[in-house]
């Protein structure tokens, strides 16, 4: 299994989902070897064997393979078009092009490479190198199936498949369309499409994503399967909290970016506050729309009732859920969206946008179109003003979320494996 992150070193939901899935698979007796660019050494290895790509020495013979190149050099070619290419790589690329008129392969790939495992400026280069390392690992290790999570590792999956001849399953947690709207990064899109085309099966986290994969990437529907995410209950801490504020609290928790729809939350908050003063709104997180959101809140003159916490980590996230009476996820586009499940686990009633994958699996959550501020305000008001509604939604939601187990999701993944292996 190729992944970019694994708890505890995570930036978002991808690592959490990878971990949950491997644990679920372990329960069904599937052994997982998890390759990540940079392991911290403190990952939970009870159910999974972690391979740190930074420790793997490249085998030089592979770097001479033509076939090898065909799979990865498109990224090298493209790399001088990447806005965040570092000067060294750029110089190397340019020099070699001038000298030989083509790309040569006596490359720096030969030695160990220290991956940052982050999402930094050298991301494209890291993705390419990760793919090279994947070839080495594929040749050295013994396995039956390759499973790659998200576009960062698709190239690695392709290389591993070429080297080993084993079937490839790619797992789409998000697409470029979710991250960037219509203004997609063509290079990322190409990598995604190449991965989906090369894969024997494509797993999507929701039907919403499945449709994107089929319609926007032109993938044969027969090989695209939806496996909804689940939540892991093992990590639930018994945090008790005494709330400082007497008012009810409505929470938005997530990156403050276009994808998450923060502006709809603010506008709805403004509407609710006009009718129901006994409430506070909290926007927890950070992102490129942060400053704009603060300004909008000031403009609407609701700043004594609308609070920002900045990026929350660790226990503070749990604390925030325990503080909340209503949780809102107004995402414009959300392949799945695990955070409402976490809120429900804390017994908090939720409102989610219909444009989220998680809306496909949840019954006891209020669903609205993200752009429909009136409906959103209405739903928030209802949960606040009619305690019975909030109580029922909270309790039923907790029951419901308890049913969403990674074990069940893993069972479906296992079926996919069996299918491609012809078992």
């Amino acid at each position: 299994m190729f992944g970019w992150e694994f708890p505890p070193h995570i930036a978002g939901g991808l690592g959490t989902a990878s971990y949950g899935l491997t644990k679920g698979l372990a329960k069904h007796g599937v052994k997982v070897m998890f390759v990540m660019p940079k392991a911290g050494g403190d990952e939970d290895q009870s159910v999974v064997k972690i391979i740190n790509a930074s420790d793997v020495e490249m085998m030089s013979e592979y770097s001479n393979l033509d076939e090898y190149w065909q799979n990865v050099n498109f990224m090298e070619i493209g790399s001088n078009l990447v806005p965040y290419l570092d000067p060294v790589t750029f110089e190397r690329t340019v020099k070699e092009t001038i000298k030989t008129g083509e790309y040569s392969e006596h490359i720096v790939f030969r030695n160990k490479f220290q991956f940052s495992g982050k999402y930094g400026t050298n991301l494209m280069e890291e993705v390419a190198r990760y793919a090279m390392v994947a070839g080495t690992i594929a040749a050295q290790q013994d396995f039956d199936i390759i499973h790659a999570h998200d576009w960062l590792t698709y190239s690695a999956g392709i290389v591993a498949k070429k080297v080993s001849g084993k079937p490839l399953v790619i797992h789409v947690h998000a697409t470029e369309f979710d991250r960037s709207g219509e203004n997609i990064n063509q290079q990322v899109y190409d990598i995604e499409r190449r991965g989906m085309e090369a894969a024997d099966r494509v797993i999507t986290v929701s039907n919403l994503t499945r449709n994107i994969v089929i319609n926007r990437y032109g993938i044969n529907p027969d090989k695209v399967v939806t496996v909804h995410n689940a939540v892991d209950f093992q990590t639930r801490g018994d945090l008790e909290i005494d709330r400082g504020v007497k008012e009810k609290v409505v929470t938005f928790l997530g990156r403050i970016t276009f994808q998450k729809g923060p502006e709809y939350f603010i506008e709805a908050a403004n509407k609710v506050l006009k009718r129901y003063p006994n409430v506070r709104f909290v926007m927890a997180g950070s992102g490129d729309l942060f400053n704009r959101s603060v300004r909008r809140v000031a403009q609407l003159k609701i700043a004594t009732k609308f609070h920002f916490t900045g990026f929350l980590r660790g226990d503070d996230v749990q604390k925030m859920f325990l503080y909340s009476d209503v949780y809102v996820m107004p995402s414009v586009s959300e392949p799945f969206g695990i955070s409402p499940l976490e809120a429900m686990r804390a017994g908090v009633p939720t409102i989610i946008s219909k444009q989220s994958g998680v809306a496909e699996v949840l019954k006891h959550s209020i669903k609205v179109n993200y752009w429909d501020i009136d409906a959103l305000a209405d739903a928030i008001y209802g949960l606040l003003a009619y305690p019975a509604l909030g109580k029922v939604a909270g309790e039923k939601g907790l029951d419901e979320v308890n049913q969403l187990k990674w074990e069940n999701a893993a069972l479906k993944v296992e079926d996919v494996y069996k299918d491609v292996l012809g078992m």
Partner: protein, 441 residues
């Protein structure tokens, strides 16, 4: 008649807020960063207040009442001196006894209250006046609003409080062709005299003194005295208004600012026909030449000389509105704890940290905002203010409940009333006992 040179120094230190998070709302009511406040006060006291006070004291000893200056010290600065550097207060008290120093009135908190329509401005000024009397034995007759903020309306309010004169900026967009080097009056009430800051000569010291790229650098006392003489042929008064922190903090001791000030009076006396006066003396000596129209508030800040540094964007406007919206409640409750925090939250600095406009000039406030962005400044301030509002409302409810009880008891004569009376009698007895034992000790 001799021309007048009027030195006025502003001293203000806000009580800086700590990082106050959403989770603290309703739980913690300690808003202020003791460590930062203390270390800042100590640093500036040692670099500026103490050495500069000594220098002025030396000058007064040498020239007697020929050398005069004036100060306005905000209440929040004085409070923090009392806590962290009491020797600063002592040294100002020494200056007060010389008879060469005038202390001006201002808002206790260095507040923007003059821009709100609440009577917080008057409250603040009264509180500050009382403090001046208590510490320095002077009842101020001249008022200086925060950062010289002034408008016709503010002037009218100040006159109504009985002040004789007020300081403000000689903003070019207000003066037009007129010179700042005369005494003017308020439009609505001509009894209020106005003294206007001479920006060029003041900023030569505050902004440019140590600027090596300035073609006049280095500035010496005799050169400055010559400028004063040459540039003010048809003038009556030159007002040099500046932050006291100019000496030793904004212009470090190494720049020679102290030596400059030490030798300046000598050159003024020998080269020019200026005499040093305090504001209240100056307005007695000079006849006002005209009323000054200031329909929109001006200040001494930035290139624009207006109030957009504090109230120039939505963040600042929202914070300001919310702050003064609860003023009537705070005043009605008149609780010492609330009054104290409310005063501290008014400091104009909190609003200045939220400014988003670009620093067009060499900002002479030399503001180092404790926040990375104006947005963080806003969020932190609003979190604190939200908690404060909660406290105000809670206390209001408690008082109302208490009031209801009293009226109920009064309405229903009988056992209840008697019991409560007995109880209250007991409790008063107890408190008097406590007091008496304390007195004995």
């Amino acid at each position: 008649m001799k021309k007048t040179l009027c030195f006025y120094f502003q001293i203000h230190q806000p009580v800086r807020l700590r990082r106050y998070r959403f989770f603290d709302i309703g739980k913690r009511h300690d808003y202020f960063d003791e460590y930062v406040n203390r270390s800042t006060i100590r640093r500036i006291a040692e670099r500026c207040y103490l050495p500069m006070n000594n220098l002025i004291l030396d000058l007064i000893k040498r020239y007697g009442t020929n050398f005069k200056v004036s100060f306005s010290i905000s209440g929040s600065a004085l409070e923090q001196f009392a806590l962290h550097a009491p020797e600063v207060i002592e040294s100002f008290q020494k200056l007060a006894t010389t008879g060469s120093v005038e202390f001006l009135a201002e808002t206790y908190a260095h507040s923007l209250a003059s821009l709100s329509d609440t009577d917080e401005f008057e409250r603040q000024v009264r509180r500050h006046t009382a403090k001046m009397k208590e510490l320095f034995g002077q009842k101020p007759v001249t008022l200086r609003n925060s950062s010289l903020i002034y408008s016709d309306q503010i002037g009218e309010r100040v006159a109504a409080m009985g002040f004789e004169s007020m300081l403000t900026d000689g903003a070019r967009h207000v003066l037009g062709w007129k010179s700042p080097n005369f005494v003017y009056t308020n439009v609505m009430n001509p009894r209020l005299k106005l003294l206007l800051k001479n920006s060029r000569l003041s900023d030569d010291l505050t902004l440019r003194f140590s600027d090596h790229s300035w073609h006049e650098w280095p500035l010496t006392a005799d050169k400055y005295a010559r400028w004063l003489k040459d540039s003010t042929q048809n003038s009556e008064i030159v007002n040099l208004f500046m932050n006291y922190e100019t000496f030793g903090e904004n212009q470090l001791a190494e720049t020679g600012i102290f030596e400059f000030m030490r030798s300046l009076p000598e050159y003024i006396f020998s080269m020019t026909d200026f005499e040093f006066l305090t504001p209240s003396e100056a307005v007695k000596k000079h006849q006002p030449v005209a009323p000054l129209h200031v329909p929109y508030p001006i200040s001494w800040a930035d290139e624009e000389k207006d109030i957009t540094g504090w109230l120039g964007n939505e963040l600042q406007n929202e914070a300001f509105e919310e702050l003064f919206k609860i003023q009537p409640k705070v005043e009605a409750l008149n609780d010492p704890g609330l009054n104290e925090d409310y005063s501290r939250l008014q400091a104009s600095d909190h609003f200045y940290y939220m400014r988003t406009k670009l620093f067009s000039d060499n900002d002479y406030h030399h503001y180092v905002s404790p926040y990375e962005t104006p947005y963080e400044a806003f969020i932190n301030y609003m979190n604190v203010l939200s908690d404060f509002v909660v406290r105000v409302e809670d206390m209001e409810k408690m008082r109302n409940i208490a009031d209801d009880k009293i009226t109920e008891e009064e309405k229903s004569p009988g056992k209840k009333k008697r019991v409560s009376r007995v109880k209250s009698a007991e409790s008063t007895a107890k408190t008097t006992k406590k007091i008496s034992t304390k007195e004995k000790r």
